[in-house]
């Protein structure tokens, strides 16, 4: 097991460096500079700015400085949010994104697994067709369409829920963003669960479980779900990546001060340290989570060799 983890780490760390390097190269290759605006700056001022941000140094020194900062988890200072370090911004915005993202994933897991299992157990009935059609709908409706429609119905017509803004952790303001974000994962997880369960339900060990007289409940919960959920577990890695991009849209629609919103703002402002900082942070979190998923998977499925 330890060897497996070490080997995965040996792939994970270079991957993180690759992501950060790609971002760095893209920013450096792009025409213009963060300080270049409509009017050209006087040469003396431009020279001062370049000196202040170390742009007069050769590229490998600039690259080295950025990378050294990231290794120490110090992402530098934002250019647009004066006097705020990137670390402060991440620390402030992460709880918002994490709250919405984790709640959305949990909701998706509960609803998706339930719907998918019901569909598999009642294959080719109206339950199956109904939940699969709903799942297809969930995959097909873009979240930036679903979100505003939910707002239109529940906030602006029925006046049940607040339409937007962040008001701390447990609050009614979270309901609509979480629903919007989780719709597509519910759908994917329902489809994955159904496929996984259908395969498992036909396998020999389920027949054995039934043959030795276990109740249907025990067969499904103790035996079938464990095997049938393997695809769902391996989907967790990609899901986290999509969850991160999903939060970008949801935070934008619902005006939540999360990581995604800052990332979009930074990209539009060309706030280079903030872009690199957020990309690095996301890459590290994402790849570590992927690593965790791999380990859990290897632990649960004895067929995976370390």
């Amino acid at each position: 097991m330890l060897r497996f983890i070490v080997r995965r780490l040996l792939i994970t760390i270079p991957t993180i460096l690759v992501v950060i390097s790609i971002t760095w190269v893209l920013i450096k290759l792009a025409p213009g500079n963060f300080y270049s605006g409509e009017k050209p700056l006087p040469p003396a001022i431009e020279k001062n700015i370049r000196e202040k941000y170390g742009l007069d140094k050769p590229w490998y020194q600039q690259y080295g400085k950025t990378m050294w900062g990231i290794v120490r988890l110090d992402f530098g200072t934002s250019l647009k949010y004066q006097g705020q370090s990137v670390n402060t911004i991440i620390k402030r915005s992460l709880p918002v994104s994490a709250a919405v993202g984790i709640l959305a994933y949990l909701l998706a897991l509960v609803v998706g697994v339930t719907a998918g299992s019901i569909a598999a157990l009642k294959q080719n009935t109206k339950w199956d067709y109904g939940s699969m059609a709903l799942a297809m709908l969930g995959i097909s409706i873009p979240n930036f369409v679903l979100g505003p429609i939910l707002v239109l119905v529940f906030s602006l017509t029925l006046y049940w829920l607040p339409p937007s803004r962040w008001e701390g952790f447990p609050s009614w303001n979270l309901v609509l963003p979480v629903l919007t974000l989780s719709a597509i994962y519910m759908a994917y997880i329902a489809r994955l669960t159904r496929a996984g369960m259908l395969e498992v339900l036909r396998s020999d060990y389920i027949r054995t479980a039934r043959a030795k007289g276990l109740s249907e409940r025990d067969v499904v919960i103790r035996h079938a779900l464990r095997g049938g959920l393997m695809p769902v577990i391996s989907y967790t890695g990609p899901a986290l990546a999509f969850l991160l991009t999903g939060t970008v849209v949801v935070e934008r629609i619902f005006a939540l001060p999360g990581l995604g919103n800052y990332f979009i703002q930074a990209s539009l402002n060309r706030d280079e340290p903030l872009i690199i900082g957020i990309v690095a942070f996301i890459a590290i979190v994402l790849l570590l989570m992927n690593l965790l998923v791999d380990i859990v998977y290897a632990y649960l499925d004895p067929r995976v060799r370390y």
Binding site: V19, P31, I139, P142, V145, I149, L268, I275, V279, I282
Partner: protein
């Protein structure tokens, strides 16, 4: 199966007694008669037509595509305005009008989806947006096909250490937060012209969505490359490139078509997402994503500005997904997983 008993009809298959044993679906009465032989594709087509949802999906996709292509021209011919026509003169006409409503509140067929803030016809704009969305979806899929199929085929055919290396690269790319990288790319290299941004967009989308395609093709090629027809080709001195492109790739077409059909809605969704955030297509070019982004600003007062592009897009993606699922079941029943 030979056709030598019946030289006039080459596609007829003689059903001999041996087939009644070998193939369960041959009825005893049919022994000794001739039936039309079916190819893989004709079989798949028949199975597809049996799947009602897939057929409905296919029809919706065809209708939306045709409407998007000829719609703006037809509207110009019938009502006399282009998608970017802004009415002048009548003050009431430059407001955002609800569906089927004229400037003075009367019923009219002119604007079945209402108008936008500047008084432009929403129906014409949705159709024109459809052109861009479908265009980006299809073209980016073609880009990802070209990269994915060649990469996967080479990796699978060469095998060994090269294969290991190439697939490890795919694994690494898989775990990248690629949308984040695409956003950085699109915002940093923001083109001055709408057309330039469009080209940047589908290069970006195409070059990140070939990974699954490469895996699928590699798997297929691995199972094909040791079959007799490849050995025969090699024995007669056909070059490796030719074996890959003329013998192996054509045999992987089934899964490739299925996956391509499922890639189009994914790419359209990503394009809409990027346009919604303001990194995708730029005005005056509009796509469903950018129309929805415009509409969201006025959701409380003019909900039709969001609902029509949004619902049109959802309907199209829904149909494409059903069509893709149907194609998968028809072409490759064993691939049925998700």
């Amino acid at each position: 199966m030979s056709n030598k008993n019946n030289p006039d009809h080459e596609d007829l298959v003689h059903i001999g007694p041996e087939m009644a044993v070998a193939e369960a679906d041959v009825h005893p009465d049919e022994v000794g008669t001739f039936v039309r032989g079916t190819s893989l594709w004709r079989d798949a087509w028949r199975r597809l037509l049996k799947n009602k949802l897939a057929v409905v999906g296919m029809m919706v996709v065809i209708i939306v595509t045709i409407a998007s292509i000829i719609g703006p021209t037809a509207i110009k011919a019938i009502f006399g305005f282009t998608p970017d026509f802004i009415p002048t003169g009548d003050v009431n006409a430059t407001r955002s009008l609800p569906p089927f409503t004229g400037p003075n509140g009367q019923f009219t067929w002119t604007h079945p989806m209402g108008t936008d803030n500047a008084g432009r016809d929403q129906f014409a704009r949705v159709l024109q947006g459809g052109q861009i969305s479908l265009f980006v979806g299809i073209l980016s899929t073609v880009v990802s096909l070209l990269i994915g199929v060649s990469y996967g085929a080479v990796s699978g055919y060469v095998g060994g250490r090269v294969d290991n290396m190439m697939m490890r690269i795919v694994d690494v790319l898989y775990s990248l937060p690629y949308v984040i990288v695409v956003i950085v790319l699109l915002s940093m290299f923001r083109s001055q012209t709408p057309r330039g941004q469009l080209i940047l967009l589908f290069i970006a989308l195409g070059s990140v969505s070939w990974l699954t395609m490469a895996r699928i093709v590699r798997g297929q090629v691995l199972s094909l490359k040791n079959q007799e027809f490849v050995l025969a080709a090699r024995a007669t001195g056909v070059s490796n490139t030719r074996i890959i492109f003329r013998h192996l790739i054509p045999n992987t077409l089934g899964p490739v078509i299925v996956y391509a059909t499922l890639t189009i809605p994914q790419i359209m969704l990503t394009e809409a997402f990027l346009s919604f955030l303001g990194f995708g297509v730029q005005a005056p070019i509009a796509s469903w994503g950018s129309l929805a982004a415009d509409g969201i600003q006025n959701i409380a007062i003019f909900p039709w500005q969001l609902i029509f592009p949004g619902v049109t897009m959802a309907l199209t993606l829904f149909s494409l997904n059903f069509l893709g699922d149907g194609l998968r079941d028809a072409l490759d029943p064993q691939m049925r997983t998700v």
